[in-house]
Amino acid sequence: MKGNFLDNLGRVYGLYTGGFVVFIILMAILEQMGVSAATIGILFVAFTIAIYALIGWLSRTMEVDAYYVAGREVPAVYNGMATAADWMSGASFVALAGGIYFGGYGYLGFIVGWTGGYVLVNSLMAPYLRKFGCYTVPDFIGTRYGGNLARFCAVVVLVVASFTYVTAQINATGTIAARALQIPFEYGVWFGLFGILICSMLGGMRAVTWTQVAQYIVLIIAYLVPVIWMSNTQGFGIIPHFGYGEAAARIAELEGILGVGTAPTEKFAGMKALTVLHNAPGEGMSAWLMVSLAVAMMTGTASLPHILMRYFTTPSVRQARKSVAFSLLFIFLLYFTAPALATLTKLQLLDPDLATSVIGRSIEEVKNLAWIQNWTSVGMLNVSDSNADGILQINEFFMRSGIVVLATPEIAGLPYVISGLVAAGGMAAAMSTADGLLLAIANALSHDLYYKIIDPKADTKTRLIVARVLLIVIGAAGAFVASLKLTGILGAVAWAFCFANSGLFFPLVLGIWWKRANAAGAIAGMVCGFAAGTLYLIYVQNGGDKILGLDGLRFGIIGMPVSLIAMVVVSLMTPEPDAETQAMVDEVRYPGGKAILDSTH
């Protein structure tokens, strides 16, 4: 099936997309025939997971090259889709629009950062790492600098960063599975993990690649369809992306009238009232916080191993570069939709001229709306008449940020089939990212720690069995942590980015761009950067005074300069790398010829 499959990718995924659209139409028909919303939700989640499982099973392999790097035969456009799914987590899918809704200008740092990072990936990292021919990111560090200590440090940073991230993803799959299948969250987490492992365990990177392509198609349809549909039914234009400037201006006008910025007098756990202006960039400190967040996210993007390793799977250096371009194009489709969604949803809730508005209406009337009741009953929304005047004020309307995406179909009065579609999209987004992260961790431990450091004589079969056992163990650990519901930790996806850039950004960049960088310098860079970032995070989390306003979301801004200085100073104080290593760096910069590491390394 292998050769056939690669030759027919367009046809296979075209059929798949067509099949998915037919499935959506079928669900819409079932809804009209009176099938319950709950059943449709279950069918959506179950059907898509069954498809991913099928792809995972068809892609099973016992070859090292296929398991670690999908046999290096993934064409650029498909790798772009797989990377986009790998990249866009449950948080991007569910929380991004909500973040913009609540966070205003400050939050836009995430939007700029999570796209601009790909310029760094393309300029500084991906083509060179592909030329290198490594299986994992620590594989590059270990070979470029030499020695097990450097490799080990890279493994530690990778595991900490990716594990922080993966618990949040397993949590998201658990939340969605729990709601769609109507089971308790604790079971939902394990069910989600089961779905995730089905995709990755049998076929490693090869299986994850082809399921991620399928998951991207589901998640982008699930994101765009409700927004465009809502825009059409509510009269915001056929394609909302280019015409919502007026909506933003109208929001600015209403913010003054409704008194956005008045602090609420009550508190509800996990929920927020809108207090930040939609479009109010500041100067000085406010601009610094926005840009420092963008920088932390950009450098983090370029250091996160589960993203970098996707570019090891292309047939050539040129295809690796091309696939970075397609990755960002596919990511852009979602990221430039999220602000439109946030703006239009906000306008629908605020503008008294629109039928959907809730602010300024009587509390009783709002409490009787079906969508308000639905989301109140699951603890994601609350309406409370704090000043007892019978009218809903802006600071009396509380909700979780995920609502902006999840409830849009209901606010706009779309059929339930669209909500089912959104659940399937959120599940796809969380599962694909979780798969990439779990594989990054398990591969680093099995290839770099077990094979390269502990038992270099292990045969292929043992290596691949160890890789799979680790995958299950790490997945179970992630699900266990997620089931503890430590929301303080799960909320901080941004931490993963800062762990990664504190420890890995400069050792990776300078490994390619600075021949003089040596093992001692790289180790100092990883250890000092990672330690400085982590200590600063602990200090800030325990109420320490922030330096330059940098909080837990931006601790990489502390870790990175420490890493750079330590790496440069220590490199210069110790002997330069030997001629062989310097020749290797020259060779990495040159796209043609053979990879540095051969496929049996």
Binding site: G116, L124, G245, E283, R318, R321, L329, Y335
Partner: protein, 85 residues
Amino acid sequence: MSDTSKSKEGHWSKTRNLTFFVLFIWFIFSMVIPWNAKALNSMSFLGFELGYYMCVQGSLAVFVLLIFFQNWRQDAIDDEFGVGE
């Protein structure tokens, strides 16, 4: 110095210049423009305030185009030195 190492040096210096140019554009759109969003908001673009527009769409689109541009130029450099694959 042999021919290959000379051509390698030429290839790398062109690659490096292209990279620095790309990173300069990236710096403008990822840092300078978001930093000055307030000042830019006094101008309008497609019915949006410009500073806001750049943060939600403009800079993002520039990043996409920038990577396609860089790859187009890098491919030309690789072909010029005969190292394209």
